[in-house]
């Protein structure tokens, strides 16, 4: 990187310079480097509505033939290698635009342990800010690059000093930075007993005591639908076997490790639930045990619940807990080779989260941000040798591949059949769980929204519900309905994104464009409501930030009709297309037993014939007051999963229509009085009192777990609080895509090579959501 302008200089040299510059200007073919959530907005920028192809930019995705990288967001330490590699592969002259705040200096993830700065790795021509960027600004970045190539020096922004009329009041209007309070010796207790009105729970506790006689230390009801079983490390396995064998708790929803350094212990916990018995469906059984901090070893429950496999690997990397029996111990799975070891331990400190730095104060980075030196994350040698011994070919897909997103899957292919598929996630691991431990409860809302930027409201809701659950807040009725409407809009949005990617993986660009067009229509009301295309952050503990006016509600109602019209066109060109049916039918079958065994969630579980939907099983918000049905299928193949989600879109539209009708008749506050306290006047609009109300939320002592049905499945949030700090002690997120990864890999095995994309698209695997 001696001369950052060498590519521009090349264009300006020689007698053919004008022709060179002109052709480079109008033929910027981006090799889109999807690294994070901004990829969603890139899809919009090149789909109908914004149509980046107007500018002569043809989105290609293949490094050798393109001359322009659009880096979309976070570059993690793992992805930095891929970036370096791809940039090296591209022919000169080449240009780089970085979009998104996290591509500049980290944005919301600036103090994460796993990110690097793209400008340290490749020479960057333009930074385009925004989180996520809008398609307009992305295309403006392309125009700016075109001007730069032509040698036009344009200032994109002219800074002017503006006299503020209310300067004397500015002191009052500044955002109060709430001091963070960390308890010096926090008391972490997983099983805090609570008195709840739950008859079935008492019955269940009785049964558990009878079944697990002699194996447990205590059984506690910790809230409605949650029971905690304390046991010893030795009898953990036996308890799990009994729970699965005799009590029908057939899958694990979450695996969690909590470190308590001052007590020299780890708490390891498994949360099990049931798909096979209807009464047990909402129940979450937490089995936990404590192990010493030195040489932490515990038996892996992978042999009982296969779904725990990947989570155990992940926790091994985070905390160093050795799960005996899991074959991946001692290897890297989610993190890069040069990520700091054991990053989630409390002794590993990341910089304090601050919004404004004083001048001349350089923030101290305890986290290494220099780019990695080597180029490859190697594929395991044994794997390759074994494959070649058995006459198979090893094909790695991703992380930069036109049809892979940011996931690397290494295949062993015999003939045209996939024998084995090894996933390697973590290319977008932005360490949300660690970052959340250093933020106020209210500051975590935008953070967790970035789990899935195409399904923002559900992620927002899932986190906020956990906080509300802990604080015991009842949400006002109007807010409940409004939240339901927003969540369903978000669900439709996410499903159409997945449908678009599904059609793109079949090479059907028209279907992709139609889906993006439908998404634009849903984004429109979200913009009217919150001002942001993809990150509304609209739901806060206790209700909503603002009331939604009847005009916007009427607009939402109109849009449900407009969606219907466009959805018909999408169906006629893609869904009923004979080629689509030929490609998707009977491919990637996941039988009911396999789906339960792998702990699948959401529409992908329902497509395999399990009637489980959190919205029906443990209803929240206004779902039990509205008329809708759960969609289930029997086939469990790609077509079933795809059509099932299209069917769910219809149900969602139904919910939205009913919700809009009902909510127009309900007048009242949109924020609960429980949380407002003395600021009662803010019950219809929180503006002005935001930090006074939410700045110092402290959750009661204990562990708080909530399950919420996001678009792609059950999202589980576990917050551990010590009752003193105003930041969470530990937050555990089990996002749906992470839970579906196991089933995804199971479904791929035995299929043809080209079927991987059918299966990928049908699972709607969204790597930022999976990697967290």
């Amino acid at each position: 990187m001696e001369n950052p302008n060498e590519h521009i200089d090349f264009l300006e040299s020689g007698p053919l310079a004008p022709l060179k510059k002109w052709s480079a200007k109008w033929s910027l073919w981006p090799c889109h480097f999807i690294t994070s959530c901004c990829g969603v907005e890139l899809a919009h920028a090149f789909a109908c509505g914004y149509d980046g192809e107007r500018l002569g930019t043809l989105n290609l995705g293949i490094s050798r033939q393109s001359n322009f990288i659009i880096i979309e967001g976070t570059i993690t330490r793992k992805m930095a290698r891929a970036l370096k590699f791809v940039y090296g592969q591209m022919p000169d002259p080449k240009f780089v635009n970085v979009i998104g705040a996290c591509g500049e200096r980290g944005g919301i993830f600036w103090n994460s342990y796993n990110i690097t700065h793209p400008s340290d790795i490749v020479p960057v021509d333009f930074f385009i800010p925004g989180c996520p960027v809008t398609p307009e600004s992305l295309l403006r970045g392309v125009r700016a690059l075109q001007d730069k190539i032509m040698g036009v020096d344009k200032k994109t922004i002219e800074f002017k000093k503006v006299e503020l009329p209310f300067e004397e009041k500015l002191e009052e209007r500044m955002v109060p930075t709430s001091p963070k309070i960390y308890a010096p010796t926090p008391e972490i207790k997983v099983d805090v007993k609570r008195v709840v009105d739950w008859d079935f729970g008492k019955e269940l506790e009785h049964t558990l005591r009878k079944e697990l006689k002699g194996l447990f230390e205590s059984i506690t009801i910790t809230g409605t639908n949650t029971i905690a079983i304390r046991t010893t490390p030795e009898s953990l396995m036996e308890v799990a076997r009994k729970l699965k064998g005799q009590m029908n708790f057939d899958h694990v929803k979450s695996v969690n490790v909590i470190e308590v350094p001052h007590e020299r212990k780890y708490i390891v916990e498994y949360m099990a639930s049931s798909y096979s018995v209807e009464e047990l469906m909402p129940v979450l059984i937490t089995i936990f045990t404590e192990i010493g901090i030195k040489n932490p070893k515990i038996q892996s429950l992978m042999s009982v619940w296969e779904g725990a496999n990947y989570s155990e690997r992940e926790l091994h990397e985070f905390f160093g807990v050795w799960f005996e029996g899991n074959d991946w111990m001692g290897k890297k799975f989610l993190l890069a080779p040069d990520t700091p070891d054991l990053p989630l331990r409390k002794e590993f400190k990341i910089p304090e989260d601050r919004y404004v730095f004083e001048k001349d104060v350089e923030p101290e980075f305890m986290v290494p941000i220099e780019p990695p030196k080597d180029l490859y994350t190697p594929i395991w040698e044994e794997f390759i040798e074994e494959a070649y011994d058995s006459d198979e070919i090893v094909v790695p897909i991703g992380p930069h591949h036109p049809g892979s997103g940011h996931l690397r899957v290494t295949f062993r292919i015999k003939g045209d059949r996939i024998v084995d598929a090894l996933p390697e996630p973590g290319f977008v691991h932005r360490s949300m769980e660690k970052l959340a431990e250093n933020k106020l409860y209210i500051q975590n809302i935008p953070l967790f929204e970035r789990l899935a930027i195409n399904d923002p409201v559900n992620m927002n809701l899932a986190y906020v519900r956990t906080v509300e659950n802990a604080l015991g807040i009842e949400v006002p009725e109007r807010a409940q309905y409004l939240r339901t409407i927003l969540a369903e809009l978000s669900r439709i949005e996410a499903f159409y994104y997945d449908a678009g990617i599904f059609s793109l993986f079949f090479g059907h660009t028209t279907g992709f464009m139609y889906c993006m067009a439908i998404r634009e229509m849903i984004i429109e009301p979200l913009m009217h409501i919150s001002g942001s295309r993809c990150g509304p952050s609209f739901i806060v503990p206790g209700g909503l930030r603002r009331d939604i006016s009847d005009d916007v509600l009427g607009m939402i109602d109109n849009i449900t009709f407009a969606i219907h019209k466009r959805a018909k066109k999408f169906e006629s060109i893609f869904v009923t297309n004979p080629v689509t049916i030929a490609r998707a039918k009977g491919v990637g079958v996941l039988a009911k037993e396999d789906a339960i065994r792998c702990g699948m969630v959401g529409p992908f579980l329902r497509a395999s014939g399990v009637n489980y939907d959190v919205r029906k099983v443990a209803p929240y918000e206004a779902y039990d007051k509205l008329d809708w049905e759960v969609t289930t299928g029997d086939d469990g193949d790609c077509l079933g999963r795809f059509l099932g989600r299209l069917e769910e879109i219809r149900e969602s539209v139904k919910i939205v229509k009913q919700g809009v009708d009902v909510v127009k008749g309900i007048k009242g506050p949109i924020l609960s009085e429980d949380i407002l306290g003395e600021y009662k006047e803010a019950s219809s609009d929180i503006k002005g009192n935001f930090f006074r109300v939410f700045g110092n939320i402290v959750l009661p002592k204990g562990e708080w777990t909530t399950i919420t049905e996001a678009a792609r499945g059950t999202t589980l949030f576990t917050i551990n609080s010590d009752g003193e700090s105003n930041v969470p002690y530990r937050v555990r997120v089990m996002s749906p895509c992470w839970m579906n990864l196991k089933g995804f890999m199971e479904a791929v095995k035995g299929e043809r090579y080209a079927d991987f994309w059918a299966v990928y698209g049908s699972f709607g695997y969204f790597p930022p959501e999976a990697d967290r």
Partner: protein, 393 residues
């Protein structure tokens, strides 16, 4: 001493007859000053040879005209510049977009392909160290031979007025042989690139090649049986194709359908975009190619499509036959031919907006199953039609 006047008369006797030129000439002569200049220029001669006249005559000399202008290189070049642009515009329209535009807003971005071509031309050509250097560079250029040679046998004329560079009784056979040669170079390029994806792409290309080649040859054979000749000049006038009722597509629609599907497979268009599927194997054989070499490979598929579409126009759509455009004389056949070929090509490229991609095994079963059956049926149908026509006439 060369007999110049004899040569000129040979050229003049075998030239494309365009009455419009005489009309323009006479019109120009009537303009006071310009008329004098034109008259002087046309009479201007060196060593008894009228220079301008002989240049015009040479351009209109049939062997030259057919090879260089219609249906030869100039048409091919224009097609290559216009067709990808039209494809991007039309597919964009289908997708509720506009396609390339801002480069030249008044003509709707029509020079987009020029910019792309020059950009490829000025880009670095990377030969990675795993590649077989010589073959890696040679194969894309060798690919030109089978793509350009069929231009010698394309007939853009109508019954009785052939516009073809070389007339031979084996024209169709030679063209098919050359078209069948093309995948060899693609497979060679993929082998030289030494990349996993290009290997997979090459294997897919080879499988597809066998799947479409046999039905394709049988479909052409059916038409040869029907016309009783394989000379492209006589094919047009064989069953008097000047009337649309006698077009090949009416006489034998089965062969036309087989030919069209084979064409989609041969040019790797969706839904048979299997060897180059960018989501699966990242352009397959061409994954490692950069710069102008990739530009050649990218454009070569369109050239192949042009050759195949030209064969289809000759066999099934009556070549250049059509209503005679006044004053254009024989040129009107050429224009009809280009228009028909362009329509076929547009239908072909617009499949991209409608169909997803088949899997390789499904495409193979279509090739070896449905298409082969259809092709054999088309052959039988041709024999029947020949017999019936023979009985009637």
């Amino acid at each position: 001493m060369i007999d110049i006047s004899g040569l000129i008369s040979t050229i003049m006797n075998n030239s494309v007859n365009i009455p419009l030129l005489y009309v323009i000439y006479e019109f120009l002569l009537k303009i006071p000053v310009l008329g004098g200049i034109v008259a002087f220029l046309l009479d201007f001669s060196i060593l008894g040879m009228p220079v301008v006249k002989s240049i015009i005559g040479f351009v209109l000399w049939k062997p030259f005209f057919t090879l260089i202008i219609i249906p030869g290189f100039a048409t091919l070049g224009t097609m290559l510049l216009v067709l990808p642009w039209l494809e991007r515009k039309l597919v964009g329209r289908m997708q509720w977009r506009v396609g390339p535009r801002e480069i030249e807003p008044y003509t709707r971005g029509s020079i987009q392909l020029l910019a792309d071509t020059f950009r490829f031309l000025f880009q670095e050509v990377i030969i990675h160290k795993d590649a077989h250097k010589h073959y890696f560079l040679q194969f894309p250029f060798l690919y030109f031979i089978p793509v350009l040679l069929p231009l010698l046998f394309i007939n853009a004329g109508a019954a009785g007025h052939p516009l073809v560079p070389i007339q031979t009784d084996y024209a169709l056979q030679i063209m098919i042989a050359l078209v069948s040669l093309m995948p060899v170079f693609i497979i060679g390029a993929a082998w030289a690139a030494n990349n996993r994806f290009s290997f997979i792409g090459a294997v897919r290309e080879a499988f597809m090649y066998f799947a479409y080649e046999i039905p394709f040859i049988i479909a052409v054979l059916a038409m040869i049986v029907l016309y009783g000749t394989s000379n492209t000049a006589e094919v047009i006038s064989g069953v008097n194709q000047s009337s649309w009722l006698n077009w090949g597509i009416i006489l034998n629609p089965f062969a036309a359908l087989t030919f069209f599907i084979a064409m989609a497979m041969a040019t790797s268009r969706l839904p048979f975009d299997i060897p180059e599927a960018d989501q699966e194997v990242a352009f397959g054989p061409f994954v490692e190619y950069t710069g102008i070499v990739f530009g050649l490979a990218y454009i070569m598929a369109y050239e192949k499509a042009y050759v195949l579409a030209a064969i289809m126009t000759m066999l099934f759509f009556g070549g250049g036959s059509g209503p005679v455009i006044p004053y254009l004389g024989e040129l009107s056949y050429g224009i009809w031919f280009v228009v028909k070929t362009l329509i076929i090509l547009l239908v072909l490229v617009n499949l991209r907006g409608v169909y997803p991609r088949y899997r390789i095994d499904q495409a193979l079963s279509i090739g070896w199953g449905a298409m082969l059956t259809l092709a054999l049926f088309a052959l039988v149908w041709s024999v029947v039609v020949v017999v019936v026509i023979g009985v009637i006439i």
